[in-house]
């Protein structure tokens, strides 16, 4: 892009002082956290010089502890997928608390349509429906799940857009409703034994692949399409967006639908990965999905944030969780340390932003 052309009226603008992207801050925080764990491995006597990221026992072909690298991303991929949708909702000035229970409800429903007929040669003991629902093609549960997610999102969005109730309340109500649906579906009984095709969706590193693909898609949507621009505009100033002729109501419905469909897809991957659906699944996922986005630099008042940030935010969680197990931190202290690190990462981000803003 030609440099001169960004100013008008002949004012000077010093390009060299361009503020660096916010995502950079969180990236630094991530490196820092990894470095700390790596250092702890060397310092703590009981760690016997184990390495966090590197392969000190020659278990893998490369110099990295590949199992560690895999689990770091794998364990946040599913909440990460949810977080992609939550990011869009928050940028549009809303919030979505219903994603955790929605995951549970969707998983229960979807699994009922993904049952296999025979388990180890015996009849499936957990089937929810009759024999017609055995060994259905994999597309059936996926479509059912996405449709259910779209429906919940549409309800959320419609209430928020058309009755103007606060998103916090609409989605808190949906939180309870979805948890109710999840428990009612099989009266609390878990649903297991999916078909092999279904089990493939969340097997191995597949969750990570889905996460990356969807992250790219959402990034493009937000940055390069009208959909994204309007999402930012509504979050920045809803009245202005309306006065500028954006159909704010319709757009909000769309945003919540996309978010809920992502959560529903996360539910599919989750139930496939665990080979079971349980009505208690997804506990606190909504909070962690929001936290990932916020660590990624999103503003909860809307109008700012990015998918790249959210992905980095998810990575922070992944590193923390793995790191804690690695340094054998007591579970009680894990909670405390995770709380402290979340606060610390955002403090660092804020501090850099402020310094950047006041830089000469």
């Amino acid at each position: 892009m030609a440099q001169q052309s960004d100013g008008i009226g002949g004012l000077k603008y010093d390009k060299s002082k361009k503020a660096w992207p916010n995502e950079f801050n969180i990236f630094i925080a991530l490196i820092l956290i990894v470095a700390i764990f790596e250092a702890l491995g060397q310092i703590l006597p009981y760690m016997n010089g184990q390495s966090f990221l590197f392969d000190t026992q020659d278990r893998f072909d490369t110099i990295f502890n590949e199992a560690r690298l895999r689990i770091i991303i794998l364990q946040v991929a599913i909440i990460g997928i949810i977080s992609l949708g939550v990011t869009q909702v928050i940028i549009s000035g809303g919030i979505d608390l219903s994603s955790g229970p929605l995951v549970a409800a969707t998983a229960m429903i979807v699994m009922s349509f993904a049952q296999t007929e025979l388990v180890n040669g015996n009849p499936n003991p957990k089937a929810v429906f009759g024999p017609w629902a055995f060994d259905l093609p994999i597309i059936v549960p996926i479509i059912v799940g996405l449709a259910f997610g779209a429906m919940i999102g549409a309800i959320n969005g419609t209430f928020i857009a058309f009755t103007r109730i606060p998103p916090f309340i609409a989605t808190l109500g949906m939180f309870l409703i979805c948890r109710g649906i999840a428990q009612w579906w099989t009266r609390g009984q878990p649903v297991s034994f999916p078909t092999e095709a279904y089990a493939w969706i969340g097997s191995g590193m597949m969750p990570v692949i889905w996460f990356i693909l969807l992250a790219i898609l959402c990034h493009v949507l937000l940055r390069y399409t009208v959909y994204g621009k309007h999402t930012y505009a509504i979050g920045s100033n809803e009245d202005a967006a309306r006065m500028s002729g954006i159909n704010v109501k319709r757009h909000k419905v769309l945003v919540y639908m996309i978010a809920s469909m992502l959560a529903a897809f996360a539910a599919i991957v989750l139930s496939s990965k665990n080979l079971t659906a349980q009505s208690g699944m997804g506990l606190f996922y909504e909070l962690f999905a929001i936290a990932m986005a916020v660590i990624g630099g999103i503003s909860l008042t809307g109008g700012r944030g990015s998918i790249i940030g959210t992905v980095l935010g998810a990575m922070v969680f992944g590193v923390i969780q793995s790191g804690f197990t690695y340094v054998k931190l007591d579970a009680y202290f894990q909670l405390m340390a995770m709380g402290a690190i979340i606060i610390g990462a955002v403090v660092l981000d804020q501090w850099r932003q402020q310094r950047a803003a006041s830089r000469s």
Partner: protein, 294 residues
């Protein structure tokens, strides 16, 4: 040797006793390091924790399953990494086809609810209520397997000819919590309907119900209250004559047993793949045997 353990929930009283059993026992052994993680009742998190243990290269893993139908994926993960795995307290769904280096030390959940409910039924008969008795059920978290199972046990017991004089007025969840049970019981009482029995899925809720009934001026001689777990608080309540029956499960022993099994598997020794630990009924009659055990 390093053992990684993932416990379904740290906030659970019973599991806390079991966990302490594991920790104390491991502390006493030389060269054994036990790392305990809290799965916060989240199946997915539990699977991730196992994978983290694998990444750290532990010698054995102990799992107290959040959801016993989610054990297939865990078994597969540990098997692929070649690390021994021991299920504790809750019987995994794939118990019959565990690989060689996996085992379980657990109780059969069906027993606990049945023992308590049946004892309540017998007591009611003894008190001459065989002509008809009404009851409330306090359920645990609906998403929790034990809650679903124990409630079903009650239904099964009152489905028996001997106990079908009992009718259930209402069943609601108090989420394992003493506080919610208190409020729920008070709500029930405010309708004024008379009742004779309270079945609680755990002791905490039984105690909550007892507190509510006492606050309402009811005499605890007129109601039969049964719980499950035999916690300290419950046994004290039984001493005071408030709680009528509960069910004891050797939490401490399970904790120790699981560590032993894990160590043995890690050394490549043969172990019993299935170790069942029976539930035991606790009533005022045999209360003294249990008072110091959990």
């Amino acid at each position: 040797q390093t053992i990684g353990a993932s416990i379904a929930r740290f906030d659970d009283n019973f599991l806390t006793v079991m966990r302490n059993g594991m920790v104390e026992y491991a502390d006493g052994l030389d060269g054994v390091e036990l790392q305990v993680e809290d799965a916060t009742d989240d199946v997915a998190k539990q699977l991730d924790q196992i994978n983290n243990f694998i990444a750290s290269g532990v010698d054995a893993i102990i799992v107290n399953a959040v959801d016993t139908s989610a054990t297939q994926a865990m078994t597969a993960a540990a098997e692929a990494a070649g690390i021994p795995l021991v299920y504790v307290n809750r019987q995994p769904i794939n118990v019959d086809d565990l690989p060689d280096n996996q085992a379980f030390v657990a109780s059969n959940e069906i027993e606990s609810g049945t023992l308590a409910a049946f004892e309540a039924c017998k007591m009611a008969r003894a008190e001459g209520l065989a002509g008809g008795a009404s009851a409330y059920i306090l359920m645990g978290q609906l998403s929790n397997q034990a809650a679903v199972q124990r409630t079903k046990d009650v239904d099964d017991v009152i489905g028996m000819d001997m106990c079908n004089f009992i009718s259930i007025i209402d069943r609601q969840t108090a989420n394992w919590s003493r506080d919610e049970a208190q409020d729920l019981m008070t709500n029930w009482m405010s309708s004024g309907e008379p009742f004779d029995i309270v079945f609680a899925n755990n002791d905490e809720m039984a105690i909550g119900a007892i507190q509510a009934m006492k606050a309402n001026g009811m005499s605890m001689d007129d109601v039969i209250v049964v719980g499950v777990d035999a916690t300290q608080d419950a046994l004290v309540a039984m001493q005071a004559g408030d709680l009528d029956a509960t069910v004891f499960q050797d939490a401490f022993g399970q904790g120790e047993g699981s560590v032993d099994a894990a160590l043995a598997l890690a050394r490549g020794e043969d172990v019993d793949q299935k170790v069942y630990i029976p539930f035991q009924l606790v009533t005022p009659a045999n209360l003294d045997e249990y008072i110091d055990r959990n």
